[in-house]
């Protein structure tokens, strides 16, 4: 019998059962889609970081900066060049073009190390001429160029690999535009230097040489986020495979007679298996293609959310474009085929061992089931051990995810055992034979349903965990905002003169209680960006600042001038505690301060510290003195803001009242978790689909068990009701089990993963209303999933049940 003939026979099954076909293709496609969609999102974001990091070789070349975050002077640069150092100046600064914020990056092409500025952008004479002389030329990413079309700027040349919002131009153009003629932000150090050069510090004492970070800042910062996404993608993939497993299992069961007939007609077992494998390959390739398309659409839909999340959480710029590499297509189809193979392995194994005259029917299920449960329990135990060891030996982010994966899958593997034990107990309490049969039969079904129930358990507990984390974060964050944003108004001048005018105007107003300067110096502490704020000693801070841990009288110590308060992120990153000494790199000389306390600083992507204002100004006399917090009569705040804006002709962003700032922060928070919430919902939907298809599978194999009960006089309606009850009950039990598991997931998220990922720890809350909502959702899903098979059972012609006996099935 030829392969094509066999295939025709096998495929006829799918033609006759379109629903099953759709279910199989959909299951595989959804699994592939979620997995590859998440990969596409990660790839898009990582490509953006790589662009930002490789800009001007920041990831490859040493760098020279000025101590204390100050500007390098032109004279410092010349001194280094005249001493033989091959360095190239870069001037960076924020500016606005037609009201849009842009980052201007000025470079000096004549001294740039080869390859620093991408693929030879200004190599070649014509390119160079237009670049370093009027009318100038700028480089920008396509979306940036498009957004700035028509602006009063030199010609913009589109360069694919640049970070969003960045304009690169000649340093002459940029320094004129920023009005910083004598300043340089950093120096790129050429990869080859001559031997025998004097040290940088000897030539220019204010400057320090730092090696490239090796791994990109953004890359490591956002790693947690991507791990999170990947974990979600994998979880969805696994859940999707449950669907496929159920469908393939169903198809196999339904085609047993066909397979037997084919064997009887002379097809060898090997030929049948080959045909099944070819069929599976064809279907999974088709599903993989579909999945990639779905995945792309999903990724495109979620990308703005992801970009918002990454921007909100880490300040990471992510361009809004996805690119599809051939590798991505290949990987998508590959994962689809691999997934289908995995899901169909059991069925193929069964087909391999099938003899021509194999009796139909359920074998001694109980013994087999017991064996399987035992294996699962052992597996769960092993996984638990692996998770613990993984976490112990690797306590970082990866360890956290290993712990979570181990906990989730271990718990899922234990679920059937737990349910079986419970059902055994219930069966023992049954007083009449029908009840006893009900429980026993429920237990018998457990094997077929356990995969779907495990999928449901996973989806529910992850939902509870993530929901608890997000909700807990929201609660903590909003409470913290209320504490932290205590001033009624926040004002800022565009330059020192305007800031001075604002200060004078406000101080003359009777309703203003006090002006609190918000002045800061920015620098790197052991390579990490830190903002150092100087504060005036005031009750606003003493009463409201969200202190986590402190020495006695922290504010008194700070106002003494030799102590600092530091943010939780800074403390965790460098393992600092109250009482420790922190050495701040002030421009003139290192400045050691005592850490008086640690405060929470949620959502900040960089480190922060607070010292007394006079102490800050003494060491950083050059800080920008532009911004103030204004304490005033709250009732008058709005009027005050309007009058100030009017009187000094300020722009609309220069005066912000407290409620507007809080609203802004909340909005950032919501967009930050939008993608998590969306993926969460998708996973649950996939779990529902898995439950649905597995019940369909079961309903086909259930008839042989139901037929005897019917023959003994149980009406079909009763049988149908009981079927429904079973399903709902199992779903309810699973939902119950998901609650503690979900709380465990939430604990891992808040106590392990968040701390690693963001540098802060949130208190763990419980949200019973959320549990209830999810449990209800699970029950509704289960009821809906069970409804179709039950409805079919009720309408089943008695002859079908009778025929089961005649067929000896």
């Amino acid at each position: 019998m030829t392969l094509s003939l066999l295939l025709t026979a096998l495929l006829s099954h799918w033609r006759r059962r379109p629903f099953q076909t759709v279910s199989l293709l959909l299951g595989l496609a959804v699994a592939t889609a979620l997995f590859s969609g998440v990969q596409a999102l990660n790839a898009a974001a990582r490509a953006s970081y790589a662009r930002a990091e490789s800009l001007l070789g920041a990831d490859r070349f040493d760098e020279i900066t000025a101590r204390g975050g100050q500007a390098i002077l032109l004279s410092d640069y010349i001194a280094l060049r005249r001493a033989g150092w091959r360095v190239s100046p870069v001037l960076e600064g924020g500016s606005t073009v037609d009201g849009r914020p842009v980052t201007l990056v000025g470079v000096e092409p004549l001294s740039l190390p080869p390859g620093a500025l991408g693929a030879g952008l200004v190599d070649g004479a014509a390119a160079l001429t237009g670049f370093l002389a009027p009318p100038w030329r700028l480089f920008a990413a396509p979306e940036t160029a498009a957004a700035l079309a028509g602006a009063d700027l030199p010609e913009i040349q589109v360069v694919e690999d640049l970070p969003a919002g960045t304009l690169i131009g000649d340093i002459a153009f940029v320094s004129a535009r920023l009005d910083r003629p004598e300043e340089i932000t950093r120096l790129i150090v050429g990869p080859r230097q001559k031997p025998g050069l004097d040290a940088v510090e000897t030539i220019a004492p204010r400057l320090v040489l730092t090696p490239p970070t090796g791994q990109s800042d953004l890359g490591s910062l956002t790693e947690s986020f991507h791990l999170n996404l990947t974990a979600f993608g994998l979880l969805s993939f696994v859940v999707g495979l449950f669907i496929v497993h159920a469908t393939v299992g169903l198809a196999f069961e339904q085609r047993r007679p066909l397979l037997r007939t084919l064997r009887a007609l002379g097809a060898s077992n090997r030929a049948v298996i080959t045909a099944l494998v070819v069929e599976l390959l064809a279907l999974s390739t088709l599903a993989g293609l579909l999945g990639i398309i779905f995945g792309y659409l999903m990724a495109a839909a979620l990308l703005p959310d992801v970009a918002a999340s990454l921007g909100g959480l880490y300040g990471a710029p992510v361009a809004g474009t996805l690119s599809l590499s051939p590798l991505w297509w290949g990987a998508g189809i590959g994962i689809s085929i691999a997934g289908a193979g995995l899901a169909a392995a059991a069925s193929l194994w069964k087909a391999r061992g099938m003899t021509i005259l194999e009796p139909v029917g359920v074998e001694a299920w109980r013994g087999a089931e017991m064996r399987r449960l035992r294996v699962q329990r052992l597996l769960a135990l092993a996984l638990g051990l692996v998770a613990l060891i993984g976490y112990r030996t690797n306590p970082g982010l990866i360890g956290g995810f290993i712990l979570m994966g181990g906990l989730l899958i271990g718990a899922a593997l234990l679920l059937p055992s737990g349910l079986a034990a419970l059902l055994r107990h219930l069966a023992a309490t049954a007083r009449d034979p029908l009840r006893a049969w009900f429980w026993a039969d429920t237990r018998a079904q457990l094997g077929g349903r356990s995969l779907a129930l495990m999928a449901l358990l996973l989806a529910l507990s992850v939902n509870i965990g993530v929901g608890t984390m997000v909700e807990g974060f929201r609660k903590t964050f909003f409470g913290w905002l209320d504490q932290r944003l205590a001033a009624e108004l926040y004002v800022g001048g565009r330059d020192r003169a305007e800031a001075e005018a604002i200060r004078a105007w406000l101080e003359a107003r009777p309703e203003v209680d006090v002006l609190l300067p918000i002045w800061n110096a920015d620098f790197r502490y052991r390579g990490w960006p830190v903002g150092l704020f100087g504060i005036r000693d005031h009750a606003t801070y003493r009463d409201n600042w969200p202190i986590l841990d402190a020495l006695p009288d922290p504010w008194g110590k700070v106002s003494g001038g030799q102590a600092a308060l530091i943010s939780e992120q800074l403390a965790r990153r460098f393992d600092l505690a109250p009482g420790d000494t922190l050495t701040l790199p002030a421009p003139e000389a290192d400045w050691p301060v005592t850490i008086a306390g640690i405060y929470s600083d949620y959502g900040n992507t960089v480190g922060q510290a607070i010292v007394a204002l006079p102490a800050l100004l003494e060491r950083w006399p050059e800080v920008e003195r532009l911004r103030y917090g204004v304490r005033a009569d709250p009732a008058m705040a709005e009027t005050l803001a309007a009058e100030l804006t009017e009187a000094l002709a300020l722009g609309d962003r220069q005066v912000i009242d407290q409620s507007a700032l809080k609203a802004l922060s909340r909005r950032i928070f919501e967009t930050t978790f939008a993608v998590t919430v969306a993926l969460n919902a998708l996973t649950l939907a996939v779990a529902g689909l898995a439950l649905f298809t597995s019940l369909l599978t079961l309903s086909a194999t259930r008839l042989p068990q139901l037929a005897p009960a019917w023959a003994m006089g149980l009406p079909r309606a009763t049988l149908a009701r009981w079927e429904l009850q079973r399903t709902v009950m199992l779903a309810a039990l699973t939902a119950l089990a998901a609650i503690p598991l979900g709380q465990g997931v939430a604990w891992i998220l808040t106590a392990v993963i968040n701390v690693e990922a963001f540098g802060w720890r949130l208190p763990l809350f419980t949200f019973p209303d959320q549990w209830l909502r999810l449990a209800l959702l699970a029950l509704v899903t289960a009821t809906l999933a069970a409804a179709l098979p039950v409805w079919r059972l009720m309408r089943l012609p008695p002859i079908t049940l009778l025929r089961l006996f005649s067929d000896e099935k």
């Binding site: 640069y77 033989g84 004549l110 001429t129 237009g130 370093l132 002459a172 003629p181 001559k194």
Partner: protein, 349 residues
């Protein structure tokens, strides 16, 4: 005239589009707005040792033939080029219209080490001052104790070499062409051009960290112009000979539709004599193949009226300068009716 290289390099660097595509021929580009070279403007010293920013191109070009304690021959090159990329505009600040380029090389019979630097003007990274006279780019410098070229100290370094030499002039400046007005083609293209070919040199050269004392002779060329070549000229061969009898001979030919050749002869204690066109007319005796090009390294040179009939040969045929704009520049030995040393520069091969 060797130093027309600078025209090429800087013109290609700074001219756009079609001009750049012409390579060395781009030097023939006419340029509006720059100061022009005129036959009736006498050179004035020490003022003319300094920069002439209104002319398009200019250089301070030193070559020297050296000998170490063991009697081995070497050569060094130190060059500072200036190019204005626009006829008007600021000379100071980031927006300066001046661009500078430095080339340095140290050549022995079997090694040739070189380095190059680019810098923009106006910020202090490169430039020339007159009082005292200094010319420099990054850490390379040509420094005089006063406003003259009578005694200079010259330093430069690359990844694998450096030198620090002092040169003392044993004779007067030599004004090339007609009192410094040097014609470059039959169409009248010209430059201001003078030399100090009478230096004796002492100092140190360092190769791979090994320093050694050297002595020798040096030849400094100064030249500036705005449009030095005619449009059809694409390369040149330039010779500077320091003969054992004390004469200093300069010869060049510009290769174009017609070959344009001229030079000068400075006998000890006398002023320069500019011979009639001719001098470099015969084909080379031998060439040296390097990847992608074939370079003449053995030349017959003749000046029958001076009784000169010599062959010059490269000390190291591999003295190719692998720069952004590559060329050949290296020490030579002179043998035949006269003996001596010298330098050879060839472009457009």
């Amino acid at each position: 005239m060797r130093n027309n290289l600078a025209f090429a390099v800087l013109a290609v660097l700074c001219l756009s589009g079609p001009a750049a595509a012409q390579g060395y021929a781009g030097l023939g580009q006419s340029v509006e707005g720059y100061a022009t070279v005129r036959p009736d403007t006498p050179l004035r010293f020490p003022k003319d040792h300094g920069a002439h920013p209104d002319y398009r191109i200019e250089w301070w070009y030193l070559t020297a033939n050296l000998r170490d304690a063991a009697g081995r021959d070497m050569g060094l090159q130190w060059t500072l080029f200036r190019q204005a990329r626009a006829a008007s505009g600021p000379d100071e600040g980031w927006e300066s219209r001046q661009i500078w380029m430095g080339h340095a090389a140290l050549t022995t019979a079997d090694t040739h080490r070189s380095a190059e630097i680019f810098a923009r003007g106006g910020i202090g990274q490169a430039g020339v001052t007159r009082s005292p006279l200094t010319a420099g780019i990054d850490d390379w410098a040509l420094v005089s104790a006063d406003e003259t070229l009578d005694q200079i100290r010259v330093t430069a370094s690359g990844d694998d070499f450096s030198y620090d030499v002092t040169l003392v002039a044993e004779g007067p400046l030599v004004l090339q062409g007609d009192r410094g007005y040097s014609v470059k083609s039959d169409n009248g293209q010209a430059s201001y051009y003078y030399s100090q070919p009478h230096y004796t040199l002492t100092g140190t050269v360092t190769r791979d960290g090994e320093a050694e004392a050297v002595t020798g002779t040096g030849w400094l060329d100064r030249e500036w112009s705005s449009q030095p070549l005619s449009g059809d000229q694409s390369g040149w061969d330039w010779f500077a000979l320091t003969l054992d009898d004390g004469s200093r001979v300069m010869m060049f030919r510009l290769r174009g539709t017609d070959t344009f050749s001229t030079g000068s002869w400075t006998a000890p204690g006398q002023g320069p004599v500019t011979p009639a066109p001719g001098g470099v007319t015969q084909t080379p005796h031998a060439t040296h193949k390097t990847p992608g090009r074939e370079i003449p390294v053995r030349w017959p040179l003749a000046r029958p009226e001076k009784g000169l009939d010599v062959e010059v040969a490269a000390l190291n045929p591999d003295a190719y300068m692998p720069m952004v704009f590559p060329y050949w520049e290296g020490p030579i030995r002179v043998e035949g009716s006269h003996s001596g040393v010298g330098y050879l520069e060839m472009t457009g091969y």
